[in-house]
């Protein structure tokens, strides 16, 4: 079989697989939209491929890449069963992410087609937006959310998706320039990372903490500190996406960020070609929290229990392992300007930033968790006419993280320990119940 014939056959194979995946049920996103988009792409690809000269190897190579891309996407759909990821969380996540990934395309409103699937473990968190619309430049981008298969129920950790949203939003051409001005501009304006030479000096500085000096000795190689322009650019993308995470998901992002990143690098000081040291990211996030006055929320909390809970939370995720001067690569002013720029960007895009909950609401969600009840806006007053409340799913996450630090208000309560998995499942269930409350209330408001 010649390459061209085989590629045409593979188009048929992709079509056949596409039909096959309709055997499954899908939760988030519409399989109809995805199916139609793929049929259009396949038809178009075949129409371009058929007239190609069988000896035109350059064109055939391009088509091979395109067919391969389609077959990979179809394969991911098979991992997209509703039972493999927390779809209630995903439905809420979409509301934040999709407005950021809209674009002005000629033929439609530019809303991407959402696909969600699960694979792998700790490193699997991803949100991808198709980079280029390739030679098939005809349709909508496919927006993919990837959950770690092993962490299906760990909704508290899923706050890390706030960071991934930043990567996806940065893919949209018209957002790139805006983010460069509003967020990256302030971050790059001054400090030890403004140029490659300064960054190298900073990494080799004698004032670096012992952990860094140990790393340098361990590698015994200058190349470890020979950071390149591309690497530095990647580091700034990571810093920017961390701010996305914090501004979109709130303090829960601090907790999931620390939990996941320190699990992957317990020293907190390692850096890689694409990722700056965790400890520097944490220092930046703390400036952002202070600017947003989240640290003062605890001070003004009504009731000593909530105040105590909030203080414990911030102590765990900010107060421990406090970054020193070397790690503090941005000034407070730089971070403040970047955060303000990001909030303006999110607001213009129609994506809701995190706002602190009403204190009584947060206290009530925490109390529900400590009583081993899924946290949501459920009316537990015993009223004959129950009035349930709207609750932002991010406030459920915050309550979950707060309770993870001390499952029971009275440490000596003698109750069984509420383990982290159970806590996550309670929060997941709370989100599902909140979806039911929201649907019911919306329908009844509409009827009224």
């Amino acid at each position: 079989m010649k390459p061209k014939e085989f590629l045409l056959q593979e188009c048929e194979n992709v079509r056949s697989t596409l039909r096959d995946v309709l055997r499954h049920d899908y939760a988030a996103g519409s399989s109809k939209e995805f199916y139609n988009e793929f049929c259009v792409r396949l038809d178009f690809l075949e129409s371009l491929l058929r007239p190609v000269d069988p000896d035109d190897v350059t064109s055939l190579q391009t088509f091979a890449d395109e067919v391969s891309l389609l077959s990979t996407l179809v394969h991911h759909i098979e991992r997209s069963h509703a039972g493999e990821f927390p779809w209630s969380f995903t439905e809420y996540l979409q509301k934040i992410a999709i407005p950021l990934c809209k674009e002005n395309l000629a033929d439609n409103e530019g809303e991407p087609i959402l696909r969600v699937y699960a694979e792998g473990g700790l490193y699997s968190y991803q949100i991808n937006l198709e980079n280029d619309l390739s030679v098939l430049n005809i349709g909508r981008r496919v927006f993919t959310i990837v959950f770690p298969r092993t962490l299906k129920h760990y909704v508290l950790l899923h706050a890390i998706f706030g960071h991934e949203i930043g990567h996806a939003a940065g893919t949209i051409p018209q957002h790139k320039a805006e983010l460069r001005d509003k967020v990256l501009g302030p971050l790059r304006s001054t400090g030890p990372l403004t140029s490659i030479s300064q960054a190298r000096l900073w990494l080799r500085s004698s004032s670096a903490p012992a952990a860094i000096q140990e790393l340098r000795n361990q590698y015994n190689d200058d190349s470890y500190t020979e950071i390149t322009r591309n690497q530095l650019d990647s580091w700034f993308q990571e810093f920017m996406c961390d701010l996305f995470g914090l501004v979109t998901f709130g303090p829960s992002f601090l907790a999931s960020h620390q939990t996941l990143l320190l699990a992957l690098d317990p020293t907190g000081h390692r850096w890689g070609p694409y990722h700056p040291p965790y400890i520097c990211r944490k220092a930046m996030l703390w400036h952002a929290c202070k600017h947003l006055k989240w640290d003062q929320f605890a001070a003004t909390a009504n009731g000593s229990q909530l105040k105590e809970d909030m203080e414990r939370f911030f102590k765990t995720y900010i107060g421990s392992n406090v970054p020193g001067a070397w790690e503090d690569v941005f000034t407070a002013k730089q971070v403040e300007d970047a955060v303000d720029g990001l909030i303006v960007f999110l607001s213009a895009a129609g994506s809701p930033s995190f706002s602190l909950p009403d204190q009584s609401m947060l206290a009530s969600l925490i109390e529900m968790l400590r009583d081993e009840i899924p946290p949501c806006g459920s009316d537990l007053s015993g009223s004959p006419k129950p009035k349930n409340r709207a609750v932002d799913f991010r406030h459920i996450l915050l309550a979950g993280w707060i309770v993870s630090e001390q499952p029971f208000a009275d440490a000596g309560s003698g109750k069984d320990s509420l383990d982290f998995l159970t806590l996550n499942k309670l929060c997941e269930m709370g989100m599902l119940q909140q979806r039911a409350i929201d649907l019911y209330d919306a329908k009844h408001k509409e009827a009224a």
Binding site: D25, A82, I373, P374, P384, K425, A436
Partner: protein, 206 residues
Amino acid sequence: MSALVKAAILTSIRDKRLVVSPILAAEQLGASSIDLRLGNVFLMVRARGLSDVDPARFAHSDGAAGDHALEQARRQKHERFEAPFQQKFLLHPGMLALVPTLEWIKLPPNLQGMVTARSSWAREGLSIATASLIHPGYKGVITLELANLGQIPLALYPGLRIAQIAFHTLDNDAKPEDMGSRFNMAFEPVEGNVSHGDEAFLPKNS
């Protein structure tokens, strides 16, 4: 032992002894019961998964994760579906499905729950007649064993009111050691273990 009327049920909820969460509408509160809604998980018996349900197969194993045959038998017995709200699930005649309630229930030591079908669904052939007693001290979702006794498929949607729970007071509080249940703190249906406690009557090499 007596059944609670609506006012007594609401008083128990107000006093934080009883939890039924969430109650979406006043219409869920009956004269002496609360309507329960269908949750989002469906555990279906898979016809090709297992030749038969033989308690002896499960009786003499410690259930360790390394026991491939046992785990496979358990996992292949059911097929699991998750359906978001507004997505249809068809329950065909003769089919058995384990489903959770949307509501999270917590019972105090002096109350037991009795779950029955709502008569409007029962008239369509939907049966949830089995395992209707909820022990005092239970917390979690309630697993309903749904069967379609009619002759045409029933379309079910998560969130529909399909069952109801009534509450009965007990003469005394149940003792803590008697309140443990293998299904306590359930977030979704799980397969049962029909050999549990009866191993003495089951052969070793089935």
